[in-house]
């Protein structure tokens, strides 16, 4: 399996009034053409990891790494121009809420067409055809109608599908999905995940799936990274989750209510200071 992304000792530091805050403290992993889940609770640094790879870290923060390379390209050394070109063309990102990522005053179809035409030369008619095909690929039933709609005119699930279509139109090799389904209803959530899964495996993309939901991630991904306080506490195959070693991973799995498991009170996580050390 070829390596798409290599991350070695990634650190993200934010300056604040009271001093420096390290959001990500030495994260290392590599990604092939596979589905990798990054799981953690709020403040674990999972989103900042995704943003740092994408180059979307706020300007006041500092990103350092021994190595942060996508397909052999050193992302930290690359000039901003090249980085922008990579973004969208070869690396795509899906965020939690499509409402904030889609342009509210432009029709969905036009946004997809524009995305395509900024990354490759395509005629108007061709771009439109490909956009429609893409909308169909994300299982939008009436692509021609949705093409002309504006983001506020579609439901959350439809918006997230449109977002996926927009991100995939340029044929990226790697995708970072940050809580892509957390804002959606459970039934819609599974539809969207199904679409994402199909596209990722059909196109042989590498996927980083960032989520707080350990159970969802483990059912969707091949491999899981568990983060706590800016560090990776455990890396394991999703199928091995039942045999997780780290007490944090086990606690996280345990504390969720399950249908049929009659546990009163629920086991709670006993946080140990050495986990964060």
């Amino acid at each position: 399996m070829s390596t798409l992304l290599e991350v070695d000792d990634l650190r993200v530091t934010f300056p604040t009034r009271t001093g420096l805050i390290e959001a990500v403290r030495g994260v290392s992993f590599s990604l092939g053409r596979e589905r990798l889940g990054i799981v953690g609770e709020s403040g674990s640094g999972k989103s900042q990891t995704g943003r740092a790879i994408m180059g979307l870290t706020p300007t006041q923060a500092e990103v350092t790494a021994n190595k942060l390379a996508f397909d052999g390209i050193d992302l930290l050394a690359a000039p901003p121009r090249d980085r922008r070109a990579l973004r969208g063309k070869r690396i795509a990102m899906i965020l939690q809420d499509p409402k904030y990522s889609l342009d509210p005053v432009m029709s969905i179809g036009r946004q997809i067409v524009e995305t395509l035409r900024t990354h490759e030369k395509a005629g108007k008619a061709e771009a439109r055809d490909r956009a429609l095909a893409m909308l169909e690929a994300v299982q939008i039933r009436d692509p021609a109608r949705v093409f002309d709609l504006h983001p506020h005119e579609v439901s959350g699930g439809m918006g997230q599908r449109a977002m996926i279509a927009m991100m995939l139109i340029a044929g990226p090799e790697m995708m970072i999905a940050d809580e892509p389904t957390s804002a959606l209803d459970v039934t819609v959530q599974l539809d969207v995940l199904g679409i994402l899964d199909k596209l990722v495996s059909e196109r042989g993309m590498g996927l980083i799936f960032i989520s707080h939901d350990l159970r969802l991630v483990s059912s969707f991904c091949d491999r899981v990274i568990v983060m706590y306080a800016g560090k990776v506490v455990e890396q394991l195959a999703a199928s091995e989750l039942g045999r997780a070693q780290h007490p944090y991973t086990r606690g996280l799995l345990n504390c969720m209510p399950k249908i049929g498991a009659d546990r009163h009170p629920l086991p709670v996580l006993d946080r140990k200071p050495e986990w964060a050390a």
């Binding site: 609770e41 709020s42 959350g156 209803d185 459970v186 039934t187 819609v188 959530q189 599974l190 995940l193 199904g194 899964d197 707080h212 939901d213 350990l214 159970r215 969802l216 483990s218 059912s219 969707f220 606690g251 996280l252 504390c255 969720m256 209510p257 399950k258 249908i259 049929g260 546990r263 009163h264 009170p265 629920l266 086991p267 709670v268 996580l269 946080r271």
Partner: protein, 248 residues
């Protein structure tokens, strides 16, 4: 057992949109009852209508044998209290925990405020160290504990819970759910709890109602759900979805 809360053919209409289409339910005293559904199902609207925050177009609500009018009186608020979903939005940004807890006592003219505040904070597992903090100095879980303390301080018999843990991390969710259960046991409270998560509802409630598009889909017991004794496709879909992603 007597009925603590009963809702009969309740309709709620917002600008010609029927958010609730004649929903009925009956919650027994001391019972924990769950409302499950996806967004737009009307589950939160039902809760808000009971609390008097959404206008009832028709139908009736009865609390502890007393039928409610269009306006709630002070006595109602001492019987029924609510915990909101978003712990970041339900605490006043410019008030300390102390001030937040004092307000209901001042409105209802309680004299022994000092003691009650202490007791309420102890009960939700926040020591006195939290008493003079502002909400921005609290974590999500701590905020939700404060919201629970505020709801309890008037000693209501019915607690309305609107997705009280959906904005919290899983580990914090477990703590808050445990706290709610413990309080219910100790105070013999009646819960009406809204959630989109079937696992949480089966964990917390004895009976539940599945809702969709402002209507009741079916009434179930938690046991039915565990043993998959459901009759409607919609409920079956929800059950399947709660098991996580399955690759086809």
């Amino acid at each position: 057992m007597t009925s603590a809360l009963s809702v009969d053919r309740l309709e709620v209409i917002f600008d010609r949109f029927r958010a609730l289409k004649g929903v009925s339910l009956d919650v027994l005293s001391g019972e924990s009852f769950g409302l499950v559904g996806e967004s737009g199902s009307g589950k939160s609207t039902l809760l808000r209508a009971i609390a008097g925050l959404a206008p009832a177009a028709s139908g009736s609500i009865t609390v502890n044998g007393k039928r409610l009018g269009a306006r709630r009186d002070k006595a109602f608020y001492r019987e029924v209290q609510m915990v909101f979903q978003d712990p970041y939005g339900s605490l006043h940004p410019r008030q300390t925990v102390d001030r937040l807890l004092q307000e209901p006592l001042a409105i209802h003219g309680f004299a022994d405020g000092e003691k009650r505040i202490q007791r309420a904070l102890d009960e939700v597992g926040l020591g006195t160290g939290f008493r003079f903090r502002y909400s921005h100095q609290l974590s999500g879980g701590q905020r939700q504990r404060v919201a629970i303390a505020r709801a309890l301080i008037l000693e209501p018999s019915i607690l309305l819970l609107d997705e009280p843990t959906s904005a919290l991390d899983a580990s914090v969710q477990a703590e808050v759910l445990n706290l709610l259960e413990e309080i219910r046991r100790r105070r013999n409270l009646t819960f009406l709890m809204v959630s989109h998560d079937l696992a949480i509802i089966t964990h917390m409630c004895e009976r539940l109602m599945v809702m969709q598009n402002g209507e009741a889909v079916e009434h179930l017991t938690a046991d039915d759900l565990v043993r998959r004794h459901v009759t409607k496709d919609y409920t079956r879909n929800l059950l399947r979805a709660s098991e996580g992603f399955v690759r086809v």
